[in-house]
Amino acid sequence: MQAAPIIKVDGLVKRYQKAERNAVDGVSFDVAPGEFFSLLGPNGAGKTTTISILTTTLAPTGGRVTIDGHDLATDAAGVRRSAGITFQTPSLDRNLSAEENVRLHAILYGLYPWRPTYRTMPAAYRQRLGELAEVVGLGADIFKPVRTYSGGMRRKLEVVRSLIHQPRVLFLDEPSTGLDPASRRDLWNYLLEMRRTADTTLFLTTHYLAEAEDADRICVLSRGRIIALGTPAAVTTSLLDRYVLLGATDARALRNELSGKNIAWQEHAGGSPYVRVAANESDVHALLKAIDTPLTMVRTVLPTLEDAYLALVERDELDLGATSGPAGIVLGAPAAPNGDGVAVAKTRAQPVAAGQ
């Protein structure tokens, strides 16, 4: 039996004051305990609005949210206890040392009584702080003023701070913004390791599609609605085919041969000598064996999540105004992190045939 969802969002709506349309427009999804769930979408899609509501900093206009069994509307304090948050914008106090920031946070979450200095804090606090600082690579820098920190160190510190109360769910709102590639990699190594060891649920919003590739499931928002929900692989393959890119010295002969043998092909791009042939893994060998024209180039192309994401968003924008409801795809059972390819009419989005 599957565990009850740790995050349950049902018909969430948010309309800002004086806004003409809903920033979040009837969004529903569940997240399973321990799942790594990623919310994607272009700017203005409603990602930050959604995460702000889930973390109690913004009141919804409608809908119901429960986190770790706490209803957002009636038990915001319970939600706050269960959640750790790394904000999109830096939320550290630069006048304090890193340790003082963490200490303030720990006391605000009721973990320890207030004490004016690090040395007078309970041993349990000092030990936990030391462990976390070591794991993220801050070490003794934890006692330095935050204003001396680089962007990467600040992000790490925010993560340390958001984890000190051992939240069941960690919300990460674009945590990699402003980080160089090495810092980003370090941060993610740590987050994924922490998820393995502490079984923390990760709820991520990001613009970096590569980060979302590691997620159990992704949810793509556009104009406040869900346009895709499923595993990254399912969303990708449902939208875009794998194909083989072929090139030959005699480009015309290749095209004629493919047409003559009823192999569907298309031009790769305007002016390009190459042609594309849709092919799954099992088809590649058969395809090559079938071709007699001498080939000069063969490349198997796997669409990335980024390709799929861009196709999705582009398609949704084309639909703008043309349909009454958004065209969307919903893949994978909501509470099954590794569920695969099962269409579920869980959201208001209409499931459509994948691909093409």
Partner: protein
């Protein structure tokens, strides 16, 4: 959520403010410069121009006015830093903690009151240096008075801050709300001879009660101080307590509503 948790959190929020102040050198220096200018220059000028008929010594009168005004204003303007926090998004981190909103804003008022009291100590020593004389028992009696004034300033700052949208807006509006009170509240000059309109405006100036409480604390046992104090200590305290609670209740409600309802 236990009371002990809320209390510890309140202390932690307050202590953060005090630490920030103690680490800010320019703010420390500013603590002394402005009151000194007020007391020495304005004190001399107003004293020379003042109508005769008062028995008390003017520089001492102004010293206690500025002493009270400075703590009250410091505490009030300190609360405005919550707007700065909000703009820097630091307040997000505090506001998502599992705490009562009253604890958060109460901690902020306590913290800014501690800052104002620290500044008050500096000004008090300055007063002794320029020749304000008092018995140790008088000085001790001023401690609870100073605490009440700081807390009241914090409550006033809270209701203002809750109605401000940006740090810039606050900086533009604050002088309009504070400067008139310097005169209406009687920081530099007695207010017992105002015409009815000014007398009315004086009575609705919160600073008047803070200043009068301070002077009552000092002049209560000083001979020949007729006209220096306007009302009894219990009356001033009662006005401050009632209006202070109203400021905090409304300020918190408005602030929290604006935080979440955007």
């Amino acid at each position: 959520m236990s009371l002990a948790h809320e209390f510890n959190a309140l202390l932690a929020i307050a202590y953060r403010d005090l630490l920030k102040f103690l680490r800010d050198r320019s703010r420390m220096v500013g603590t002394l410069v402005f009151p000194a200018v007020f007391i020495l220059i304005l004190g001399g000028a107003f004293g020379a121009a003042a109508q005769s008929g008062y028995q008390f010594e003017f520089q001492t009168f102004i010293f206690f006015g500025v002493f009270a005004q400075n703590m009250w204003q410091s505490s009030a303007t300190g609360i405005i830093s919550l707007i700065e926090d909000r703009e820097n998004d630091f307040s997000q981190a505090i506001f998502v903690a599992p705490l009562s909103r009253y604890t958060i804003l109460g901690g902020k008022i306590l913290g800014e009151s501690l800052v104002a009291l620290t500044q008050g100590i500096v000004i008090f020593v300055f007063g002794l240096v320029i020749g304000v004389r008092m018995a140790p028992s008088q000085a001790l009696a001023l401690i609870p008075v100073a605490i009440a004034i700081c807390l009241y300033g914090g409550a006033f700052g809270l209701i203002l801050m809750a109605n401000m949208n940006s740090q810039r807006g606050a900086q533009q509006v604050f002088p309009f709300l504070l400067l008139p009170q310097f005169f209406l509240g009687g920081v530099f000059t007695p207010v017992d001879k105002f015409n009815p309109v000014l007398a009315f405006l004086s009575r609705i100036s919160p600073l008047r009660y803070a200043v009068d409480l301070m002077r009552g604390g000092y002049y209560g046992s000083v001979e020949g101080s007729a006209g220096a104090v306007l009302a009894s200590q219990p009356f001033n305290l009662a006005v401050m307590a009632v209006s202070g609670v109203v400021f905090v209740m409304i300020g918190t409600a408005v602030f929290v509503r604006k935080e979440r309802t955007r």
